[in-house]
């Protein structure tokens, strides 16, 4: 069953070829036998999943099934799940049992999707390799010596390893797209405000956005139909009429104007990645799309601006982890300052501390204007760059990441090189645009991702454009050896 996409599983469930109980049990067995090699799950919630599967089968028998009823999924461990540990990949929350469901979790529950478990991630979503997790790094199913990318590395790996048909992720600077690229799966970061952030543990609130990760664009569209929607509990959630994200699946790309940002095709991209992107461009040309060069003049500033804004927000967002009410508390604090210093000193890992310090510095009196305000100005310029580009083109295409999956430990001692893994994805978050990554081929046996960036609220078209590529290519059907 696990070779099937979500769309196919949904059809099989509907036709009665399989029950949710069978399907869920099958995935749980795979997790049990295969996840030791990946370390992609932090928590497996087998009992609850089976119970939900029985309920889903019951609902179907009663005629109350929705499009995804009975399809099991996994959640990134950044989404609060009632009664289940929600660790955010941190020692700080290793003991935290969430007392409520994130809106995303509640929506999937309401849609009848059993939760297989919670996936591993970089600590508080800060990282591009999954190596900052308190629970140890996730291994890339295509080569377990290599990283899965991050921060949604666990979610990408479970989809690639067929340990879940689909998983949720979050993307602050590329955390859905970059691991999707490195694992050969599809993932979309929706327009900022599409998916509720309620119950999604904040890293950088103005950039964080939840989204689906699955094998295909069609699967992502089906998942986004569940995830997206206005939520009165999130003031940055956008009120728009409900839409069907699968509606452009069969829209041809003939005549589509695709922009190629010249800044995305310069130095820094591996030759293997460049070749795959070129081939994808050729494929779209063959389908009748037109290509136009576009200029994003401020994109070279995006990493710098991001590493001011994101740490600034995180330094404030993570202040609540103080050892007072929940989470890690140091032993025998001698006074309040000691409680704070040791709880936070012992509870957070080095990358989180680095960002808290950078962010605290950037917001400090005397530096605020030079860093935070300047970064906000750059952010506006970047958004304006995209706005002018979208006057000329319908979507923008480029690489998702400059290289394929790198070796575990390769970049851990060099944060700046690590930060450059997100060089093509970060600008999208700063502008709040939707963007997806889809598998487009391989370089030396490792998957390469292609990034498509859309205008605000243009997810349905982006997913359709990706789907048109996927129906004519084999990449998204390929499974890593050992996980077939």
């Amino acid at each position: 069953m696990h070779e099937k996409s979500i769309a196919e599983l949904a059809a099989a469930l509907k036709e009665g070829e399989v029950s949710s109980v069978e399907l869920t049990a099958h995935y749980l067995r795979r997790i049990e036998t295969l996840d030791d090699a990946l370390n992609a799950y932090v928590t497996v919630t087998g009992e609850q999943a089976m119970e939900a599967a029985r309920a889903a089968d019951e609902a179907r028998a009663q005629g109350h099934a929705g499009p995804l009823t009975g399809v099991p999924i996994a959640h990134k461990d950044i989404f609060c799940t009632e009664g289940t540990r929600t660790s955010c990949g941190s020692k700080m929350l290793d003991n935290f049992i969430a007392p409520y469901d994130a809106t995303v979790v509640a929506r999937f529950k309401a849609a009848g999707c059993p939760i297989l478990g919670k996936t591993n991630m970089d600590e508080f979503a800060m990282g591009s390799s999954n190596e900052t997790s308190y629970y140890g790094p996730v291994k890339n199913p295509w080569d377990t010596e290599r990283v899965p990318g991050g921060s949604s590395g666990g979610s990408a790996a479970v989809v690639a390893g067929r340990l879940a048909p689909g998983a949720t992720g979050t993307d602050t600077g590329g955390s859905i797209r970059q691991p999707a690229a490195l694992n050969g799966v599809t993932g979309i970061k929706p327009t900022y405000g599409r998916v509720s952030r309620w119950g999604m543990i904040a890293f950088a609130s103005s950039l964080d956005q939840g989204g689906p990760m699955a094998r295909t664009a069609e699967d992502c569209a089906l998942m986004l139909n569940v995830m997206a929607g206005f939520d009165h509990r999130d003031s940055t959630s956008i009120q728009r009429p409900d839409e069907d994200f699968t509606r452009h699946m069969n829209t041809p790309v003939k005549g589509l104007r695709i922009g190629l940002p010249k800044q995305f095709f310069g130095e820094g991209m591996d030759a293997g990645v460049a070749r795959v992107v070129d081939e994808a461009i050729a494929h779209y040309k063959g389908l009748g799309a037109e290509f136009v060069e576009v200029d994003l003049p401020h994109s070279d500033l995006s990493v710098a601006a991001y590493y001011v804004v994101a740490p600034a927000e995180c330094s404030s967002n993570l202040a609540r982890f103080d050892g007072v009410r929940y989470g890690y508390r140091c032993e025998d604090p001698k006074d309040l300052l000691d409680l704070y210093m040791r709880s936070r000193g012992e509870g957070f890992g080095p990358e989180v501390k680095r960002r808290i310090m950078v962010g605290t510095y950037a917001l400090s009196a005397g530096y605020f204007d030079a860093y935070y305000l300047k970064a906000q100005k750059i952010r506006r310029l970047i958004a304006e760059d995209f706005a002018s580009a979208f006057k000329e083109v319908d979507v923008i295409l480029g690489p998702t990441a400059p290289s394929t999956a790198f070796r575990l430990g390769e970049k851990t001692n060099d944060p700046v090189t690590m930060y450059l893994s997100d060089i093509y994805t970060i600008a999208v978050n700063l502008a709040g645009l939707p963007a997806l990554s889809l598998p487009a081929g391989f370089s030396d046996g490792l998957p390469v991702g292609l990034q498509l960036i859309g205008n605000y609220f243009d997810e349905a078209r982006l997913l359709g454009v990706a789907h048109q590529y996927q129906v004519g290519t084999e990449w998204c059907g390929m499974a890593p050896g050992g996980f077939v």
Binding site: A98, S315, Y326, L336
Partner: protein
């Protein structure tokens, strides 16, 4: 050397919304610790704030009442600092763009002089929880019921020049927020408190002296005492050749002095930045007009009306409108007694009633003598059932819970004697008993008339109608 005091106040008024400013939890006071703190108030991972529109309407109300600019787009900012009763590690407040901009409030001093005090701004923010240091055996307890309670911080210009002016300003603002129904004004529960910025400078200089900030003053008396102590302390420092240190100070009500809490160097860098979880607050003219339409009559308007309509003096009108409750009480009594009796009603409300309230430290809202009951009592003066003097006795009995006016009059037999025959009988007796005084009176000592009135009233237990007594006495003497 003459010194001038310069004072600015930051008043924190808890807004009387039913739920908190960013969550649906109740704001009711006095519940068991941590029973009114929801996931948002606890600062759990993943929670988000949603602004309570009622709090915004209340802030706008105040803005309109002090003739201030309402900011069309204001911004919520995070004020970052660590404290155990601050669950998120930051307080959501407003920094560069507050909801209420520049306005002013007129205060009246005891000598009748009016001064205009500038209001720099007023901004919305959330209150913190409470740290409880007792009953925890060397540990600290945290109660987050108050966390997230909406506050309006009203910042004045440094326009006050004495503790008296500061108190008058705080009292006026206190009255105003209660008029507007945006704050219960309960100072003991901390619903209305202030920080005072105090400095002194030599008379005639323009430059302000170095100021200190006295935190958390929750009574008018403490405000007055704290400022007075602080002014004297600063003058002593300066006259001794020293310099005032910019710092935060705390007032110790037991010792009547302020002491240093932290200096400027130790002050927090709050690292304010716009809260990315909340959109900018846009207030359009429709909203403003809706709020304006809901404004009650304000103290100054009411005072003017009391003067014009009831013919009260400025002093009486000002006293009666110092709180909405007192003004309402007054008007309720007048409604019963008739507006021709307004002056008498004013005297009773400001005299007997206020005296009794003060004596027992009660608010007019829980006066044992209701406006209706007082109206009924005053009606008995008007219809000559009792005299004004007897009425005071009846009032005391009513205050003590002995029933309404008629019941007391009946039970105590206080009904006025208006029977001319009965009064004449007493007068004859008094005249017969005091031949010496009669002699003197008749030989021109007019002052003794009062003596005879007194004797008659004494004989009748004060119940004789005074006008009749006067008239009959004159005839007989």
């Amino acid at each position: 050397m003459e010194w001038e005091t310069v004072i600015g106040l930051e008043i924190h008024a808890q807004l009387s919304t039913r739920s908190k400013i960013f969550s649906g939890a109740s704001t009711a006071y006095g519940a068991e610790p941590n029973t009114q703190a929801c996931a948002v108030d606890l600062g759990l991972p993943g929670v988000l704030p949603v602004l309570n529109e009622k709090a915004v309407a209340m802030a706008v109300k105040l803005g309109l009442a002090i003739d201030a600019q309402i900011t069309p787009r204001s911004v919520f900012a995070r004020k970052n600092y660590f404290y155990p009763d601050l669950p998120k590690g930051y307080q959501i407040s407003q920094y560069e763009l507050p909801v209420v901009g520049r306005g002013h409030l007129d205060i009246e001093l005891d000598d009748g002089e009016t001064r205009t005090i500038g209001v720099t701004r007023a901004h919305l923010e959330e209150d913190a929880g409470k740290s409880l240091h007792e009953d925890f055996h060397g540990m600290t307890g945290i109660d987050l019921n108050r966390a997230g309670t909406p506050l309006l911080e009203i910042v004045s210009e440094p326009d006050m020049r004495s503790s008296r002016e500061a108190v008058a300003y705080m009292k006026k603002m206190h009255s105003l927020v209660r008029y507007l129904g945006i704050c219960d004004g309960n100072m003991q529960e901390g619903s209305f408190r202030c920080d005072a910025n105090v400095s002194v400078r030599r008379k005639g200089t323009e430059k302000f002296g170095t100021r200190t900030e006295i935190k958390n003053l929750n009574s008018f008396r403490f405000l007055e005492k704290a400022i007075e102590f602080e002014v004297e302390r600063q003058i002593d420092v300066l006259e001794g050749g020293g310099a005032v240190v910019q710092e935060t100070r705390l007032f110790d009500p037991d010792k009547g002095e302020t002491r240093s809490m932290r200096s400027k160097e130790e002050a927090n860098d709050y690292r304010y930045f716009p809260d990315p979880d909340l959109l900018p607050l846009d207030i359009d003219s429709t909203f403003i007009e809706q709020v304006r339409a809901s404004l009650p009559e304000l103290p100054d308007e009411k005072k003017q009306r009391f003067m014009n309509h009831y013919g009260l003096s400025a002093y009486d009108a000002s006293t009666l409108t110092s709180s909405r409750e007192m003004a309402d009480y007054f008007e309720a009594v007048v409604e019963q007694a008739g507006s021709g009796q307004a002056k008498m009603v004013a005297n009773w409300v400001m005299g007997e009633l206020s005296g009794a309230l003060n004596r027992e430290g009660r608010e007019i809202g829980d006066s044992p003598v209701s406006a209706r009951a007082l109206g009924a009592l005053l009606a008995r003066i008007q219809d000559n059932t009792i005299s004004g003097k007897i009425a005071k006795e009846v009032f005391e009995a009513m205050w003590a819970g002995e029933g309404d006016a008629d019941m007391v009059i009946e039970a105590k037999g206080l009904k006025q004697i208006t029977d001319t025959g009965a009064i004449e009988q007493v007068i004859d007796q008094v005249i017969a008993d005091n031949p010496k005084q009669l002699e003197q009176y008749r030989s021109g000592k007019d002052k003794l008339f009062g003596f005879f009135v007194g004797q008659v009233m004494k004989q009748t237990g004060g119940k004789a109608n005074p006008a009749q007594v006067n008239e009959l006495l004159k005839k007989k003497l």
